[in-house]
Amino acid sequence: MSLRPDLAVIARQIAPDTRVLDVGCGDGALLTTLRDTKGVDARGMEIDAALVAECVARGLSVVQGDAERDLADYPDAGFDYAVLGQTLQTAMRPDLLLDELLRVGRTAFVSFPNFAHWRTRAALMFGGRMPVTRALPVSWFETGNIHHVTIADFEALADTMSITIRRRWFFADAKGLGGLHSVLGANWRAEFALFELSRGP
C-alpha cells in the first residue's frame, strides 16, 4: 500500500511497539501500515461512519467521533504518538485541538496544506480570487478548510503555545523537499508541511 507522503514520513518516524492514535484516520492506511510493519498498538478516530466501517473491516480499533469534542474522553498521555494528518485546517479551534493532541499523546505529528505556497499566493495576488490549486482543490464556499494556515503562522502559534517543534518536513509535487532549512524558503515552496511536536524541551 502506498501512503500519502506525509503519512509515509510519519510511518518511518514512529518507533516499533508503541501506542499510536491517528486522529482523522480516514480509511486507516497509516494505522494498518504501523500495525503490520511495526507491531504498533494502533487506534484511530474518524468522523465519517463509512470510513470507520472500512477501518473495522481491516481489523483496526477506530472510534467514530469528532476530534474537537471526543478527544476529551481519552486519558492524559495514553499514547506515545498522536497523529493529525491534513485535518488541523478543518478544526473550529486548531489551537485547542493541538492542546488536546499533546495531552493524549506524548509526541504529536501534525501535517497541513501551506496557504503561503507560491501558487496560492499567485492565485490570490494576480487572480484576486480565493485560490483553487492542486493542494487546495475545493472552492471557498464548499471547502472544509475553514482555517487556512501557513508554515510561518503555524511556527508562530507553536511558539505562543510553548510547543516544541522537534522536526519539520516539507513537501511539493508529492515529494519531500530536501535541503530546505529556512522556514521563509519553505513557506514559499512547500505545498504541505509536517511537524513533529512535543511539550517541553
Binding site: A53, A57, V63, Q64, Y74
Partner: protein, 354 residues
C-alpha cells in the same frame, strides 16, 4: 440440563436448569470458530431457523447463515435461549421440583445470571474461548456482561444498539408493561398456567414496548394519520388509525408466542442491569481485565438506547485500555434497526468478525 445448580446474583442457586439452544455451521476440530449470538428480550434461539410456533424465519436470518455477515460456512454459531424465557430454557413457566410451574416462585434473575448459564453451557460443550460474542439490545448487554465477568472467554465482543445500564426512561417503559400484565385479572398473581393467560395485559405491554423500538419518523412514514379500512373517523374506539391496528396486531401476535411471566422476569433483569454498579461504580473497572477486542454500534434513530449510551461505554473501554471500535450508523428504523436491512451494519459485522 446443567449438571450443577446455577448460582444466582439474587442469592441461592437454581437446580435442574435446562438450556435450549440452536447451532449452525460446523465446529472446527480445535473449537476455535465459535460465535455466541445472544438474543434480545423477546427473542429466542431460532436466530436463523424457523420459529416453531409462528413458522416465521429466524429473527436474524439476514445476518446469520452461509455467506452472510456471520458466516456459518466458517463459524459455528451457538444461540441459547436465556434462562427466564419460555422457549425451552428454564423459566417461570417451567415446572418446579413439585411438578407445578414455578410461576412467581421463580427467582428474580439478572443479565449476569443469564450469562452464567451461557458459560455453563459452553463449559458443557467444551468451548473455552469464543471467536466472538455478538448481541443486539439485551443481547448486547449479555455480550458486555460476558466480557466484564468472564473476560477470558471471548476474543471479540460485538455490542449493537445496547447500553451498559438501564436508564430511568428504560425502566419506566418496562414498568408500564409489567403493570399492564399484572392488572390483567387473568394474571392471577402469576398462577394462570392451565387456564386463561393474561393476553390482554401482555399485548398492551408489547404495544407500549413496540413503540420504543421504532422511531417517530419511521411511524410517520409508515402510517402517518392514515385510517384503517375506512374513509372517515368512526367517532368510536375501534382502531380507526392504521397505527392503532398495527399495534393491536403486534400485541396479539406476541401473546401467541410469549409467556407473560417471562416478560416480567426478563424486563426486571434488564432494569437491574448496570455494569458499573457491579464493579464498584466505575464502568472502566468492569473492563479492567478485558482481553477482547470490542466493537460498539449504535443507530442515530434509536432513542431507546441512544448513541450517548454507546459513547459512555466506549469512553469506559478506552479508559480501560481495551481495543475498541465504535460507529454510529444512520438508519431510519429506530432501535429495531439492528434487526432490519441496514447494509452498513452487515459490513461492520463481517469486518469485525474477520
Amino acid at each position: 440440563m446443567l449438571a450443577q445448580p446455577l448460582p444466582l446474583d439474587g442469592g441461592g442457586a437454581l437446580a435442574g436448569v435446562e438450556i435450549a439452544y440452536e447451532t449452525y455451521g460446523t465446529l472446527a476440530a480445535d473449537r476455535s470458530n465459535v460465535v455466541l449470538v445472544c438474543h434480545a428480550l423477546t427473542g429466542d434461539q431460532y436466530v436463523a431457523s424457523a420459529h416453531p410456533v409462528t413458522g416465521k424465519s429466524g429473527w436474524w436470518d439476514r445476518m446469520v447463515g452461509p455467506g452472510k455477515p456471520i458466516d456459518t460456512a466458517r463459524f459455528h454459531v451457538i444461540c441459547p435461549n436465556v434462562i427466564g424465557s419460555c422457549m425451552g430454557s428454564t423459566g417461570p413457566a417451567s415446572d418446579g421440583a413439585d411438578g407445578a410451574p414455578h410461576a412467581m416462585r421463580f427467582p428474580v434473575i439478572t443479565i449476569r445470571d443469564m450469562v452464567r448459564a451461557h458459560v455453563a453451557l459452553l463449559d458443557a460443550l467444551g468451548i473455552d474461548r469464543l471467536h466472538a460474542v455478538v448481541g443486539g439490545s439485551m443481547g448486547g448487554m449479555q455480550a458486555l456482561s460476558l466480557a466484564a465477568n468472564w473476560p477470558e472467554r471471548a476474543a471479540r465482543v460485538l455490542a449493537i444498539a445496547t447500553t451498559a445500564r438501564h436508564s430511568a426512561q428504560n425502566i419506566a417503559f418496562h414498568e408500564v408493561g409489567r403493570q399492564a400484565i399484572m392488572a390483567d385479572p387473568n394474571w392471577a398473581g402469576g398462577n394462570y398456567y392451565g387456564g386463561a393467560a393474561p393476553d390482554a395485559g401482555l399485548a398492551v405491554a408489547r404495544m407500549a414496548a413496540h413503540i420504543t423500538y421504532l422511531s417517530e419518523d419511521g411511524l410517520t412514514d409508515k402510517f402517518g394519520r392514515s385510517l384503517q379500512d375506512r374513509d372517515a373517523k368512526s367517532f368510536g374506539f375501534d382502531a380507526d388509525f392504521q397505527v392503532e391496528s398495527y399495534l393491536r396486531y403486534q400485541g396479539s401476535g406476541f401473546t401467541k408466542r410469549f409467556d407473560a411471566n417471562s416478560y416480567l422476569y426478563i424486563t426486571r433483569a434488564m432494569d437491574y442491569f448496570d455494569l458499573a454498579e457491579e464493579h464498584g461504580g466505575r464502568l472502566a473497572e468492569a473492563f479492567a481485565g478485558a482481553t477482547a477486542r470490542f466493537c460498539v454500534v449504535s443507530f442515530d434513530s434509536d432513542w431507546l438506547y441512544p448513541t450517548s449510551e454507546s459513547r459512555h461505554l466506549v469512553h469506559a473501554l478506552n479508559a480501560a485500555g481495551a481495543p475498541v471500535s465504535f460507529v454510529e450508523l444512520s438508519a431510519p428504523f429506530g432501535h429495531d434497526s439492528f434487526l432490519l436491512d441496514v447494509p452498513a451494519l452487515d459490513r461492520v459485522v463481517a469486518g469485525f468478525l474477520g
